[in-house]
């Protein structure tokens, strides 16, 4: 069964710093912008939800047709957002936690400016591996 999953890290100033399609569904050109649109629009909801809970994992925040958006917010207000079409809350939670760890490691890199685009291929492969593992 093919699944759609689009993972994006959004910096605190609302611009995406890392994007990857981690789903197993074949990549489509039209999908790229639709996914971005949905994720971008759900930032509005995240903005509200984030202050209503103590958890970093906000669970499902938004949906568009059959595409769901789960969000995890770090202490620095960086948002890890996942667009997916299968309900698997635990897996998503684990995925977010591990990616958060990776992201913190990324921040420890003195050459990485926080809020800039993550271009490290190492990070990318690790995220993809995590996606395979949990999603």
């Amino acid at each position: 069964m093919s699944s759609t999953a689009c993972f994006v890290i959004v910096s605190r100033n609302d611009s995406p710093i890392y994007e990857s399609e981690v789903g197993t569904a074949p990549k489509k050109d039209e999908a790229a912008h639709l996914h971005q649109f949905i994720l971008h629009a759900s930032l509005d909801i995240v903005q509200d939800v984030v202050w209503n809970t103590n958890n970093m994992f906000l669970k499902l925040v938004d949906k568009f047709n059959d595409l769901l958006v789960s969000v995890y917010v770090t202490a620095g207000h960086t948002r890890l957002m996942l667009l997916h079409d299968s309900r698997n809350e635990d897996g998503i939670k684990n995925f977010f936690q591990e990616v958060h760890e990776l992201y913190i490691k990324m921040l420890l890199n003195p050459l990485y400016v926080p809020g800039s685009r993550i271009t490290s291929p190492f990070f990318d492969t690790r995220v993809r591996a995590l996606a395979r593992k949990y999603l």
Partner: protein, 949 residues
């Protein structure tokens, strides 16, 4: 907010008001047509009564007062539900017509989000949406499952010019002309009738009409008759009444064929309506409608409500009746399933209750209406008459809203109405959309914009078969839902943007391009510069495309230009964008318009200037020869100039001049290294790459000297083209001497063009040349090129701040960062280019070789007193001019003769002794060099004599 004051209540009042059926003789219609108005249109503006105060008493004993009231008037023929296709076509046309209005509502640049916000708050935007809703509901009116659209009163109008007016009245009301609803038996055919005599003052005085009127009163009863006289004004009267008609005319919902459109156009060109009326006429019409309402319609409705209420309480209220009803209904359960819709005629109890409830609703006795609707809903439910059930649920929801009772309950009623309507399928699904409109308006009225937005979104996603109309409706509702997100506080801009884009998408699908463009443009600011590249690409792409379709090419090109550098897109998309961009450019502006293109990317910071002042064209090892070797040779040749010593006091003056500009020489090329790179994954062709320059020769008659007065030398494009032309001109006339060459027609700068192809992701440095041909000030401004041979691009160099440049061979240090590309072109200085031909690679001991030394002076100045010095005087000897023409072996043969050789040797020895291997060229050569640079070609003989060391 009071429910009565909301937009929903307004919409409802317009929709849910008593219907007046109008029937008129052709003669009466003709009378009215003198004003470019049908009778219905004539009366319609006065059907909104807002300055009345009527006591109304319905079922309860307590009267209440109505401050405003409304009527709907339709011809009997129009009282029918239009077919689905016609209705959709009509709606599409409505929206299409509203596109300009909607665009006009956006004051200022829609790119600013503030403008959009302001627009939403001022509700101009919602006005066309309300109009759409109204029209949408009109297309759904006259359904058999509601009593709202049953005529309350029938207005029969006969002209006073008609023969036998009394019998005409009787003829008018015949069953054949009745609307379909009445023929089917869904509506009571015995409606209240009102007989009106229409009199045209232009046909004669009122007296004779009055006699007919008296007759009418005798026949039909005093109260049931009315007289109306119009057209007392004339077309050219000075005081036509205020035009209340133009804005109100309802376009009839008909199939919009080409014919009807032409008629529509013709109508527009005509005079404004109502010209034959004067103010007293208008007042009379107004009074007539008020009278009709107060004395006929409202009392009639009151009476009917009371009557029906009595009947209902007698048969249906109370425990006994309920039980009886229940038992009776169970009995006929089997049959009702099959023919759910058609079984209720006007005389059935259910229809009577519905009429009662609807009348109560129209008279705003919501309490009574609600009671009866509830009674009815349980009946319909047990009967499984789903459409009617949904209709009743819908009304329950509205009643609850108007009574400002349970919010939750009203929402549930509407939701269930929506669900049931949807379940019915087919055309009925449209009523589901209507229900959602009510619901969203209800949320809006209560300030729940987020809920309203989601309801509208659902309305948009509702699958109703309607072809183009469906996606159009989706677009309209999506746009409105976007506005709802904007009204939430704090505004949810991203949701707004997303829904606007969805709306734009739908508009594009149903080719409402103006709407689509407006929608896309208003969200541009939300998405731009945020790093969400796919989103902004999508928006730019659609704006570009729509603008192109609408003929706004500049905007289209502007947006496509932002697209062509999309390195993150897939290869297919990249080539797609590029192709579309080139297509637009090719078909619109072509090569004439120079664009600020960003493909290929040019590193405008890294621009290096190279001067043509190197010592040798040959290998770099030769160029790197130590300076001492040269200085030893130059010794004695160049006069030792006493360098004037500057103190720091007089230094600034000269320094200021020196720093201002670089210096270059007319007629000498300077090279500028420019870095091009291709961000795309597809190869691109770049041609006609050249520098653009500004040239100022300090003369007052600048425009003249380019030969194109309108284009001053500051326009780069013009400069180039005229340059090329002038160049050709010179090439065509090689024999032109400097004296004949007109100063004014001379080109100023020669800019050669380069062509190259950039592979995917390639980065390359290209040396572009500029050759000033006259003295003055030349400023290199930027670079221009032709992308794929179609789109002309231009880019200025932006050089700011000091830069450290590695001094490559010939690269000069930079005087000042800003002025680096500004050159002070000095007049031609003598320049001597020397090349040796026939230089052998291998010689034998004692062998003599002829070598041709070519001296070339590319400048206009003549070079005088040329001297030749060699470090190896016993190897290189200068020969005679006559030897030049001879072939190599034969000249050697001559030299083989004893005499010639001897002579040479003598010269050689003499030179060696006198001037240290310096040879001064004879004056003949000098003279030749005075001729223009192109033709100067001085050739000398040398004999290379290799002595074995």
């Amino acid at each position: 907010m009071e429910p009565a004051g909301t937009a929903l209540a307004h919409l409802m009042r317009q929709r849910m008001c008593p219907l007046v059926m109008l029937m008129a003789t052709p003669r009466a219609e003709q009378t009215s047509r003198k004003n470019e108005l049908g009778i219905v249109e004539l009366l319609r503006p006065f059907c909104v009564l807002d300055q009345i105060d009527v006591p109304v008493r319905t079922a309860s004993e307590l009267p209440y007062r109505l401050q405003d009231f409304e009527l709907r008037m339709f011809y009997a023929a129009d009282i029918a539900q239009p077919s689905s296709e016609v209705a959709e076509d009509y709606l599409v046309e409505c929206v299409g017509n509203a596109s300009d209005e909607a665009a006009a509502a956006l004051k200022g640049d829609p790119k600013e989000i503030e403008v959009v916000k302001e627009m939403v708050e001022s509700e101009t935007q919602t006005s066309w949406f309300q109009k759409y809703c109204r029209d949408y509901m009109r297309t759904l009116a006259f359904s058999e499952h509601e009593a709202i659209d049953h005529p309350v009163l029938c207005l029969l109008i006969v002209s006073s010019k008609d023969e036998y007016p009394l019998s005409r009245f009787v003829d008018l009301y015949n069953p054949d002309s009745m609307p379909a609803l009445m023929k089917d038996g869904a509506t009571d055919p015995n409606v209240l009738k009102h007989f009106v005599l229409l009199h045209d003052i232009q046909d004669g005085p009122l007296e004779e009409a009055n006699t007919i009127f008296m007759e009418m009163q005798n026949t039909f009863g005093v109260n049931n008759c009315g007289i109306l006289s119009i057209n007392s004004g004339s077309v050219d009267s000075d005081l036509p009444p205020d035009d209340v008609w133009t804005g109100i005319i309802l376009q009839p919902i008909v199939a919009s064929s080409v014919e009807s459109k032409q008629v529509g156009d013709a109508k527009v060109s005509k005079k404004r309506p109502g010209l034959c009326l004067n103010k007293s006429d208008v007042a009379e019409i107004s009074d007539f409608v008020v009278d009709l309402t107060l004395k006929q319609i409202i009392p009639h409705m009151e009476q009917k409500i009371r009557m029906l209420n009595q009947q209902v309480s007698a048969t249906r209220r109370g425990l006994k009746n309920q039980l009886k009803n229940l038992w009776w209904r169970k009995g006929k359960e089997e049959t009702s399933d099959v023919q759910a819709g058609g079984q209720y005629t006007f005389s059935s109890m259910e229809s009577q209750i519905r009429v009662l409830a609807d009348y109560a609703f129209m008279l705003r006795d919501y309490d009574l209406a609600l009671q009866n609707y509830r009674l009815l809903s349980s009946d319909y439910k047990t009967d499984k008459a789903w459409k009617r059930y949904a209709g009743v649920q819908e009304m329950i929801g509205l009643c609850l809203f108007m009574m400002d009772l349970s919010r939750r309950e009203s929402e549930i009623s509407l939701e269930s109405a929506h669900n049931v309507y949807q379940k019915c399928g087919g055309f009925t699904t449209k009523y589901a959309t209507r229900t959602l409109i009510w619901l969203s308006e209800m949320h809006k009225a209560r300030g729940h914009f987020r809920e309203a937005a989601s309801v509208l979104f659902r309305a948009a996603m509702l699958k109703v078969d309607g072809g183009q109309g469906m996606s159009l409706r989706a677009g309209v509702f999506l746009e409105q839902s976007a506005y709802c997100y904007l009204s939430v506080s704090p505004p949810m801009l991203r949701k707004f943007g997303f829904h606007m884009v969805l709306a734009g998408n739908r508009y594009t699908v149903c080719s409402q391009r103006k709407h689509a463009l407006r929608v896309y443009r208003s969200v541009l600011s939300i998405f731009e510069g945020q790093g969400w590249k796919y989103i902004s690409d999508h928006v730019h792409f659609h704006i570009g495309r729509l603008s192109h379709f609408l003929g706004n090419h500049d905007v289209a090109i502007f947006h496509f230009m932002k697209l062509v550098t999309c390195s993150h897109q897939s290869v297919a998309n990249q080539s797609n964008f590029l192709r579309e961009f080139l297509y637009i450019v090719e078909n619109t502006v072509g090569k004439d318009q120079v664009l600020e293109l960003e493909l290929p990317i040019i590193n405008t910071e890294r621009v290096h200037v190279h001067f043509e002042d190197h010592r040798t064209y040959s290998s770099s090892s030769a160029a790197a020869e130590a300076e001492s070797v040269w200085s030893a040779l130059e010794e004695g040749l160049t006069p030792s100039v006493a360098v004037p010593l500057h103190t720091w006091l007089d230094a600034p003056k000269s320094l200021a001049l020196a720093i201002d500009f670089n210096v270059c020489i007319a007629g000498e090329e300077i090279g500028v290294d420019v870095e091009f790179s291709n961000p795309l994954q597809i190869p691109i062709d770049v041609s006609s790459v050249s520098l653009t320059c500004e040239f100022d020769d300090g003369n007052s008659n600048k425009p003249e000297f380019l030969g194109k007065p309108c284009r001053a030398d500051t326009t780069q494009g013009a400069l180039d083209s005229s340059e090329d032309q002038s160049l050709n001109h010179i090439e065509d006339n090689p024999g032109l001497s400097s004296g004949a060459m007109d100063v004014d027609s001379a080109p100023t700068v020669h800019l050669p063009e380069e062509v190259f192809q950039l592979q995917a992701g390639e980065r390359t440095v290209v040396r572009l040349k500029a050759k000033p041909l006259r003295e003055g000030i030349m400023k290199v401004i930027g670079v221009r090129w032709l992308l794929a041979g179609i789109a002309a691009g231009h880019r200025d160099f932006t050089i700011s701040g000091p830069q450290i440049t590695k001094s490559k061979t010939g690269a000069r240090s930079i005087p000042s960062p800003i002025q680096r590309l500004k050159f002070h072109v000095l007049k031609h200085t003598p320049r001597l280019e020397v090349s040796m031909h026939e230089l052998p690679t291998k010689v034998n001991t004692g062998e003599l070789h002829r070598i041709v030394l070519e001296l070339y002076n590319p400048s206009k100045m003549s070079v005088k007193r040329i001297k030749f010095k060699t470090s190896h005087p016993n190897v290189l000897l200068v020969g005679k001019a006559g030897d030049l023409d001879m072939e190599s072996p034969s000249c050697l043969e001559v030299q083989a003769g004893q005499e010639g050789r001897h002579e040479l040797k003598q010269v050689d020895i003499a030179e060696l002794k006198n001037s240290h291997s310096v040879f001064s060229f004879p004056e003949v050569g000098d003279l030749q060099r005075k001729t223009p640079m192109h033709t100067v070609c001085v050739v000398k003989f040398l004999y290379l004599k290799l002595t074995c060391v």
